[in-house]
Symmetry: C2
Subunit: 126 residues, 2 copies
């Protein structure tokens, strides 16, 4: 930073192209990615989400949904009925995530097998 390096990697290299260390909303929240996918085709109820998100607990699902609601990528709508009914839907902002996600999903589909193979190879060798 205050040093005089011959050919250093500038400390501001990252902010120029990548403002954040990881992807907001999707980083550091295990289920966020899949939750968004499950809402892609329309609003879903709490219990509806639990089916495709096999294994998720109510607690974690509720936490994830609340967090994502605070980020503005989905909205929670509570209907005054009995039994209670709550729906979650992507916001317009949330929908803008789908494009970038598609790119990442395509990459994963194409390279997941190779990744697993590479890791297995390394584990055998050492």
């Amino acid at each position: 930073m205050t040093q005089t390096d011959p050919a250093p990697l500038p400390a501001d290299l990252l902010p120029a192209d990548c403002p954040v260390p990881s992807v907001p909303v999707l980083g550091s929240r295990k289920w966020a990615w899949r939750i968004i996918r499950c809402l892609e085709d329309g609003p879903r109820r709490f219990s509806e989400l639990r089916v495709p998100l096999a294994g998720i607990t109510a607690k974690v699902l509720a936490e994830s949904l609340r967090s994502m609601e605070q980020d503005g990528v989905l909205v929670r709508t509570e209907f005054d009925e009995n039994p209670p009914r709550v729906e979650y839907a992507l916001t317009p902002l949330g929908r803008t995530l789908l494009g970038p996600m598609d790119a990442m999903c395509a990459w994963s589909r194409e390279n997941l097998a190779g990744l697993l193979a590479a890791r297995a190879e390394h584990e055998r060798g050492h």
Copy 2:
């Protein structure tokens, strides 16, 4: 899990219903995203990486690099010199990540301010 799950898949990698639950390599590793960015323009030495990755410890950087090497997205090259010199570079596979990452970075640039505002709003009001 105490459940009797008939198909125990790598829960962090393989989807139940959605394409990909999270991004391999980039998910669940805080610094991976930025490390790849730092290698985008060419090989870098260990100490060179520590500059733009301000705050990362040697331990975490080494761990992250090892992990990513095992995934096959980067290679570690050790030169037999004194003082020791080691370079890290993206593999062709690693380079294929840059495209999808660009899409995500663009999204972040465009929406980060809005996200922070939305969260701040939620924390203030409710």
